[in-house]
């Protein structure tokens, strides 16, 4: 954790997943996995510090948005790789582009930390959200009751990831 972070605007999420750290790492960094849980979306990473990455909407996201009557941008999340130490640590800058007001809040900092514990992986997600109050509200799951389905933020995403890796199915399946 950097010394400059503001604790009050930092969110920390932790989940234990009965899977090897390498499997969890793949689920976070490979597009064939990233579209299968949570909000979905296809993310291609060049795991080199300074490399840009972006998340494209998956087929389900495009279909869903079309049905709801609003457009999906070609890139839904973008940012840069700050640090990559497979399968232990991934630090990213992270900007949500789904809506103009979220995009305007700019880049936040997202850290994934993986540790093996008793045959499981302890996954800790730290999201530093200084200057991004709307995004902070979104990722905390404050909009969970809205019709969009899956406004559950990181708690929901990680619960879904755990379900996928442990049972082969997501929560909706």
């Amino acid at each position: 954790m950097s010394g400059t972070e503001n604790a009050a605007t930092t969110q920390v999420y932790r989940v234990y997943i009965k899977a090897a750290p390498e499997q969890v790492w793949d689920a976070i960094t490979k597009p064939e996995w990233t579209d299968r849980y949570g909000y979905g979306g296809l993310t291609d990473y060049d795991l080199t510090p300074g490399a840009a990455y972006r998340t494209r909407p998956g087929p389900a996201m495009v279909e869903g948005a079309k049905a709801m009557g609003f457009p999906v941008p070609e890139t839904v999340i973008d940012g840069e790789v700050v640090e990559a130490d497979p399968p232990r640590k991934l630090v990213l800058t992270w900007r949500m582009l789904m809506e103009p007001q979220l995009a305007a809040e700019g880049f936040t900092r997202l850290t994934y930390e993986l540790a093996e514990k008793n045959g499981s992986t302890r996954l800790t997600v730290t999201h530093e959200l200084a200057g991004a109050p709307q995004l902070a509200s979104l990722v905390s799951g404050a909009h969970d009751d809205e019709q969009m389905g899956g406004g559950g933020g990181w708690s929901w995403v990680l619960s879904d990831l755990k379900s996928l890796l442990e049972t082969g199915k997501t929560l909706a399946q």
Binding site: M1, G3, E5, A7, A8, T10, Q11, V12, Y13, R14, V15, Y16, K18, K117, N118, G119, S120, T124, T126, S140, G141, G152, W154, S155, W156, L158, S159, K162, S163, E166, L171
Partner: protein, 113 residues
């Protein structure tokens, strides 16, 4: 519900941790403002430092609080994921049935009107 022997993440620990009003109060404090030190949390409670430490330990063991070092300070963060897991695996299962039952009742009642 599958339990993992030796795993720290366990529904029993979560339910036990939530069964105490002081621990729920500590979670509410972190919900209002995250990333607090023991000293900050202690100042909100009529309780010894040792008592607050004990409660935080139970919350950490249940995974509901994650502590991190920031310089010399140890900061405590609320981790909502264990509650989400209980919600997704237990509560959804039962509320869905209630909602379905009510929807069916409504359809049944409206059929004759």
């Amino acid at each position: 519900m599958v339990t993992y022997p030796g795993s720290v993440s366990d529904d029993d620990l979560v339910f036990k941790a939530l069964a105490d009003p002081t621990r729920r109060f500590l979670l509410d404090l972190l919900f209002a403002r995250d990333g607090r030190t023991l000293t900050e949390l202690e100042s909100e409670l009529e309780m010894s430092r040792f008592g607050v430490m004990k409660h935080l330990r139970v919350l950490e063991d249940a995974g509901l609080v994650v502590s991190r070092k920031s310089g010399r300070a140890k900061l405590h963060f609320l981790n909502p994921v264990p509650i989400r897991l209980i919600h997704d695996r237990w509560i959804d299962k039962y509320t869905e049935r209630h909602v379905t039952a009510l929807t069916e009742l409504k359809a049944e009642l409206e059929k004759d009107s």
